[in-house]
């Protein structure tokens, strides 16, 4: 297996997480990952070694997902995640689980560009510059989309305090993409 193939294999979990957040359906997510891998392997000669493979793969995935939306007229979501897919660091309380469900549902109300930007930065840990590359916009646009997405979610969501609330610090939030 080539080094590129190994790098792609290493990134599959992150691709699955992004796909799951986009589609909210396990089967649809793995199908989207599969399509992304196929496209990436087919176009691998266009990838320049040493550049940002993760951003390149997420660009492919995001473009494929948008194509699906255009083709089907709406998000290809079949059903919501089941209970097993909610994994908190600590055992979530019922109230917190409900808050997560609400957050998940509210994400679907965001415009696609805002939602994708929020997922790329907030969930996948991409830098603003990388998110700009993936979505094909200026860094300033990424910042404004993030701002609008978070504010819209804040208005929509009544997410309760987390089980470890009270002393939550920014450092507790994983933004590295791992």
């Amino acid at each position: 297996m080539s080094s590129l193939q190994q790098e792609i294999v290493d990134l599959i979990p992150q691709l699955r997480r992004f796909a799951m957040a986009l589609t909210r359906d396990r089967t649809a997510a793995d199908d989207l990952v599969q399509d992304t891998l196929l496209r990436a392997l087919d176009k691998s000669e266009k990838f320049q070694a040493g550049t940002n493979l993760r951003a390149w793969l997420m660009t492919i995935m995001r473009n494929l997902f948008i194509s699906q939306i255009r083709r089907y007229g709406s998000r290809p979501t079949l059903h919501s995640l089941d209970g097993e897919s909610v994994h908190g660091v600590t055992q979530p309380s019922q109230e917190y689980s409900l808050g997560l469900r609400e957050l998940e549902a509210n994400l679907t109300h965001l415009p696609e560009d805002q939602r994708t930007t929020l997922l790329l930065v907030g969930l996948q840990g991409l830098s603003y510059e990388e998110a700009a590359m993936v979505t094909g916009v200026a860094v300033g646009t990424v910042r404004s989309r993030l701002s609008r997405a978070r504010e819209a979610l804040r208005q929509l969501s009544a997410l309760p305090e987390t089980p470890t609330s009270g002393e939550t610090t920014i450092e507790q939030i994983n933004v590295s993409g791992k």
């Binding site: 979990p13 909610v86 910042r143 701002s147």
Partner: protein, 274 residues
């Protein structure tokens, strides 16, 4: 106290605000309960996203996705599969299966509207699912009539509509699926073969085979069609589609059996979009 912009608040939450502005913004948040609450909500959103989706990172990667990458050699030339004539000794075996030349009830399901390899595969998958549904209803217990003992058998020349031998397993997968029915059909896109397998638990899968105009190798790809799990691949001049409701992992094990029976291995492949 300096004003904190929306973008600065977001940069703070994302850990991307640098000194000296970072200290100024933190002081502003400490002094403003509304701003502090807003920042906390943004942090909660981030933590919520990770709580919702980080579990996927800890799951094992589905093997068909791993193989898709591992078995692909994007820069290598397409592997040609040499056609071989059917050994005479195998011809009798297919006759034992019983051959039914039938048309598919659903026709070709819009075959003419689909173009290229992607269209060919989409059409093949739809036909395979239909064939599986038909065979599920029509399959009779013919196990006594099937060749026993050998690991594989080659469909006899009278039953095989293809230009290349079609060699399939007598026992497939870990849960011992055995062939229970065989059909060949001829349609607008050419001949097809459908083989139904069943295991001791009564689960059934169907292998659907049809020709491809070019000799190619495309690794396993999975999809879902009408509630059925589907795995398909191209090997040389034939397109293979495996349909069932036994889950993708089991289909993958079965697909390995078919690969093994055909004397092929899923290496040096060229990935292609279905």
């Amino acid at each position: 106290m300096s004003q904190v912009s929306d973008e600065e608040l977001n940069a703070l939450v994302d850990g991307r605000l640098e000194e000296p502005r970072l200290s100024e913004v933190l002081r502003a948040i400490d002094a403003d309960p509304n701003l502090s609450l807003r920042a906390q909500r943004y942090r909660d959103q981030l933590q919520g996203l990770h709580a919702l989706y980080d579990g996927v990172l800890r799951e094992p990667v589905p093997s068909h996705l791993l193989r898709l990458v591992q078995d692909s050699a994007p820069s290598s030339p397409i592997t040609e599969i040499k056609a071989r004539r059917l050994p005479a000794s195998w011809r009798a075996a297919a006759a034992l299966l019983g051959v039914f030349v039938v048309g598919l009830a659903g026709g070709w399901l819009g075959h003419g509207q689909l173009q290229g390899e992607r269209g060919l595969l989409q059409s093949a998958v739809k036909q395979a699912v239909l064939a599986h549904q038909m065979l599920e209803l029509a399959v009779a217990d013919q196990q006594d009539a099937l060749p026993a003992g050998a690991d594989t058998f080659t469909v006899g020349a009278d039953a095989n509509p293809f230009e290349v031998p079609l060699r399939v397993p007598n026992t497939a997968g870990d849960s011992n699926f055995v062939p229970v029915a065989f059909q060949s059909a001829t349609g607008a896109a050419g001949p097809t073969v459908q083989l139904a397998y069943r295991n001791a638990e009564g689960k059934e899968v169907t292998l659907f085979v049809q020709p491809h105009s070019a000799s190619r190798k495309v690794p396993y790809q999975a999809s879902t069609e009408d509630g059925f799990d589907v795995l398909f691949w191209i090997d040389g001049p034939l397109v293979y589609v495996l349909v069932g409701k036994s889950g993708r992992e089991q289909l993958l094990g079965l697909a390995d059996s078919f690969y093994s029976a055909a004397g092929l291995r899923p290496a040096s492949t060229e990935a292609a979009k279905p």
